[in-house]
Symmetry: C2
Subunit: 461 residues, 2 copies
C-alpha cells in the first residue's frame, strides 16, 4: 500500500493536468448543441481508462454513451465459485450542468484555472474531479504492480444532469456483468476539509414544466387589456399556492408518505454544526427561509421542497412592451425524501394545479425527469469500512449525514443490481456546483485518490 | 376639394408603395441595436415631407429626433393679428413596437406584404400608415394648388412606444411655434370598417419593473434548497396579490380617484355592440376575464387594469436546471382611467409591494414610463366638426368611444400647448398592433387620406 500511496503523490501534478484536460470538454447534456462535445468527452475518458490498463468500452444508449472500464481480464466469475473475488462498482458521470449565466463567471467555465488550492471550471467538482480520483487510485495499483483485493468496474455515464433516463435500460441489459457487492459513488459533499463524510440518505426529485396559454398571440394591453386573462398572472397565482408562509408545500397529500426524522438522526444532525452567519454570508442572503420546525441542516437534506427553477413569459428585453402575453411557463423541481414516490407526487401536483387553474387559460403540466429518495443504514459492514477509510485518508473523524441532492441512479442500483451504495463525496460546501465559478479543492482531489486506494482492502476486510 | 380628392385617388398606388418603403425601416425604439435604423427612418420621413413641399427639419432630443414639418413658409403669426389663420398640429410617431416573437409572423415584420386589402408589417397600423394618410392629404392640397384654410404643422416623434420621454422638453422648447387651436392624432381604433370613430377618452399608463434578488448566485437546489428563499416563488406570491378573483386590483387606494361611468356613457358603450363569441374567437380564448360588474367594452376602455408584460427568472433553455435562481423580475403595466394620477399610483404600488415583500429577498421597484389618462367632451365644436368629417369620408355614421390604449402625449399637448386633441383613429380591431402579423387595411388608408383632406375646411368652419 505504501508504494500505491507514494505513486499517487509522485504523479499528482500529472493527475491535475489530466483533470484540466477533462474539464475542457463542454459536456453539457441538457443542451443538444453540445452533443459532439459529449461524444468527444466520452472518447477521451475511454482512452484514459485504457491507458491505465482497464478493459474499456463505450456502450451506446438511446442518449449519450456510457463508459464501462473494468479490472477484470475476462467476464464475471460464476457466483457459485467458492473463491469468488468481491466485485465493486464505481459510478460517476462525465456530463455537466449548463454553464449559464456565462457573465457571472470570473474565468471561462471550460478553460480550467488554478487559484490557490482551487481548480475552477464547470464539472471540476460535479463530477469529473471526483470519479477521476478513483480512476487514478486504480492506476496506482496497476502501475506499481500491487494486487487489488477485489474486482472493480467503473460505470461513467453522460446523462446524470438530465435524469439518467437511459441508465436503467443499460443496467438491465448488463445486469450479469455489473452484479456487485456494493456501489461506490463520490458525487456528494463533505461539510469541511477536515470533516470527511459518509452520506447515508439522498433526496429524490421530480421535475415538471407548467405551461399556460392565454390568447392566441401577444395582445396590445391597451386595446384588449381588461377583457382577457393574463397567463403570466394566472401562472403567478397558481405557483404562489404551492407553498405557504411556513415553507410547507400545499399540494394535498404531499407529506403523506414522508418518514419523520428519528431522535437519533436529529442528534446526528446537530453535530454538523452549521454556522448560520457564515452560511448566510456564503449564500449572500440576509435571512434564511425554510420549513418551520426544522433546522437548516434538516431543511436542506431531510425535508422535501419546491423550487421554481425558471420563469418565462412575454417580453424580457430592454425597455417595456405593453402586451398581454400569449404564454407563460415555469420550470419546477420538487425534492423528495424517504418514502415519497415520484410518480404519485407528480399525480398530486398535476391534480392540484388542474383544480386551481381557471377556465380562462389552458394548462399543460409536462413531467420531466424524476428520481426516488434513498436511505441506507450507516451501521452496515461496508459503511463501517468506509468510515475507517475516511478516517485514514483524511486524518480526521468522519461524519455521517444526509444530503439534499438527488442521485436517481442510486435507487436503480438497488432495484436492478440489488446493491447498496456508499456515498463518499469530495465536494466542499463552497464548490459552487450548478452555479457559476464551480471549483474543486485540489486537497480533496489528493485525499480522494488516497481514499480510493485505501478503500478496497478495508471493504474486503 | 374635388381636385384634392381626385388627386388622392389617382396617386393611391404610389402612396401604398411609399408606406411600404416606410415600414421597411425597423424603427424599434425599445432596442438600442436599432438606433441607426431610427435615424435612417427619421431622415426618410424628412425627405418625404420636403418633397411634398413642407418646410421640414429634424429636431434632436436626448433620445430619437422629432420630425417637424409645416405648411407655414415663415414663423408663427403674432396671435394678436386679427386675420390669424387657424393652426392645427398633426401628431404621429415613426417608432414601432419590437417585432418579437419573430417566429409567430407569417411574413417578415419589416418586409411589407399585401394580401387582399391588408398591408402586413410592423408599424403598418401603429402608426406609420395613419400619419402618412394625413401627410398625403396635405400633398394633395399642395400638388393641386388648392389653398388650405389653415396652417398645419406635423410633429412626428420616435419615442411613443417607449413613453415619449423627450417630447415634453421638445414641446416646451418649441411652445411658441407649436401653439395651436387643436391637435389631430390618428393613432387609435375604429370598431369596424363601416364605423368610423371619434375617441374622447384614453386610458393612462404606468410601467414598473419589479426585481427580486435572493442568493448571490444561482444555487444547487439539492444542496441548498429548503434553507433559502426562492426569488421566483416570492415574485409569484407578490404578483398574485395584485389582482383578486373578481379582477379588482388590490393595491390600497388604487380606485380612490377613479371617476365612475355616467349612465350616458354606459348607454353609448352599449351601441358599440361587441359580439362576445366573435371577440373570443378573435383573441383565441375560450373564456373572457375582466372586472366583475362591467361589460367587456367598459373593461377594456374605461376601467383600470394590471398586466404582467413579461417574467424572467433562472434557467429558460431546453431541459431542466436544478437551481434556486439568484434573480427574478417582472415587467408590469397598469392602465389608468380618469382621474387617476400616475405618480400617486406608482407610490401606491411601491408601498404595497414593499409591505408584502418578506425580508428573505431584496426588492427593487423601478418605475418606467407613464402617461396620464385623458378625457374631453365629445360635444365641443371641433369634436362636432370631426364627426361631420368622418361621416363624409367613410360614408357611415360615426360613433364616439373611449379607447383603452394610452397616448401619454395627449396630456402634454393639453398642459404645454393648452390644446385639446381630436383622436381620429384608423386602426381596425384585428390590426394586431403590438402583436405578430400587424397589418393596416388599405381601405382605412384611403378613407384616412380622404378624412385628412376634408377635415380642415370643417374645422375652420
Amino acid at each position: 500500500m505504501d508504494k500505491v500511496l507514494a505513486y499517487l503523490e509522485s504523479q499528482n501534478d500529472r493527475f491535475v493536468a489530466s483533470l484540466c484536460d477533462y474539464i475542457r470538454f463542454p459536456s453539457v447534456s441538457a443542451q443538444p448543441v453540445h452533443s459532439a462535445d459529449m461524444r468527444a468527452c466520452a472518447e477521451w475518458l475511454v482512452n484514459y481508462c485504457k491507458r491505465i490498463g482497464l478493459k474499456t468500452r463505450l456502450c451506446p444508449t438511446k442518449g449519450n454513451p456510457v463508459v464501462v472500464a473494468t479490472t477484470r481480464k475476462s467476464g464475471p466469475k460464476k457466483t457459485t465459485s467458492k473463491k469468488r473475488k468481491p466485485h465493486f462498482l464505481v459510478y460517476g458521470h462525465y456530463d455537466v450542468q449548463p454553464a449559464e449565466p456565462f457573465d457571472l463567471w470570473t474565468t471561462k467555465p471550460f478553460e480550467p484555472v488554478i487559484r490557490g488550492s482551487s481548480l475552477f471550471g464547470r464539472g471540476a467538482s460535479d463530477n469529473k474531479g471526483q470519479h477521476l480520483a478513483h480512476l487514478n487510485a486504480v492506476e496506482a495499483y496497476l502501475a506499481t504492480g500491487t494486487e487489488l483485493p477485489c474486482d472493480l468496474t467503473f460505470v461513467v455515464e453522460g446523462e446524470e444532469e438530465v435524469g439518467s433516463n437511459n441508465l436503467e435500460n443499460f443496467l438491465k441489459a448488463n445486469r450479469k456483468e455489473l452484479q456487485c457487492d456494493a456501489v461506490i459513488i463520490s458525487d456528494t459533499g463533505m461539510p469541511a476539509i477536515d470533516k470527511p463524510a459518509l452520506t447515508y440518505a439522498l433526496r429524490g426529485i421530480v421535475a415538471v414544466e407548467v405551461r399556460l396559454s392565454g390568447p392566441s398571440r401577444d395582445l396590445h394591453s391597451g386595446i384588449y387589456g381588461g377583457t382577457v386573462d393574463n397567463p403570466a398572472m394566472v401562472l403567478c397565482q397558481l405557483l404562489a399556492k404551492l407553498r405557504d408562509k411556513n415553507g410547507k408545500i400545499t399540494v394535498p397529500g404531499f407529506y403523506d408518505e414522508v418518514e419523520e426524522l428519528s431522535d437519533f438522526e436529529r442528534n446526528q444532525f446537530k453535530k454538523l454544526k452549521l454556522n448560520e452567519a457564515d452560511y448566510r454570508k456564503h449564500l449572500g442572503v440576509e435571512k434564511l427561509f425554510g420549513e418551520k420546525g426544522y433546522t437548516p441542516v434538516e431543511q436542506r437534506s431531510a425535508r422535501p421542497t419546491v423550487e421554481i427553477n425558471g420563469l418565462t413569459s412575454g417580453y424580457q428585453g430592454i425597455g417595456s412592451k405593453t402586451i398581454v402575453p400569449a404564454l407563460a411557463s415555469a420550470k419546477l423541481t420538487f425534492r423528495l425524501v424517504p418514502n415519497q414516490e415520484p410518480k404519485k407526487i407528480i399525480q398530486q401536483i398535476d391534480s392540484y394545479l388542474r383544480k386551481l387553474c381557471p377556465p380562462t387559460v389552458k394548462l399543460t403540466v409536462e413531467d420531466g425527469h424524476y428520481g426516488e429518495p434513498y436511505l441506507v443504514s450507516p451501521e452496515g459492514k461496508y459503511a463501517q469500512a468506509a468510515l475507517r477509510t475516511l478516517r485514514k485518508a483524511f486524518g480526521h473523524e468522519p461524519v455521517v449525514m444526509r444530503e439534499g441532492g438527488s442521485i436517481p441512479i442510486v435507487t436503480q442500483f438497488k432495484k436492478i443490481l440489488g446493491a447498496d451504495t456508499l456515498l463518499l463525496g469530495l465536494a466542499l460546501p463552497d464548490d459552487n456546483a450548478h452555479s457559476p465559478n464551480e471549483k474543486f479543492d485540489l486537497r480533496c482531489f489528493a485525499n480522494g485518490m488516497k481514499m480510493g486506494a485505501l478503500l478496497w482492502p478495508e471493504l474486503v476486510g
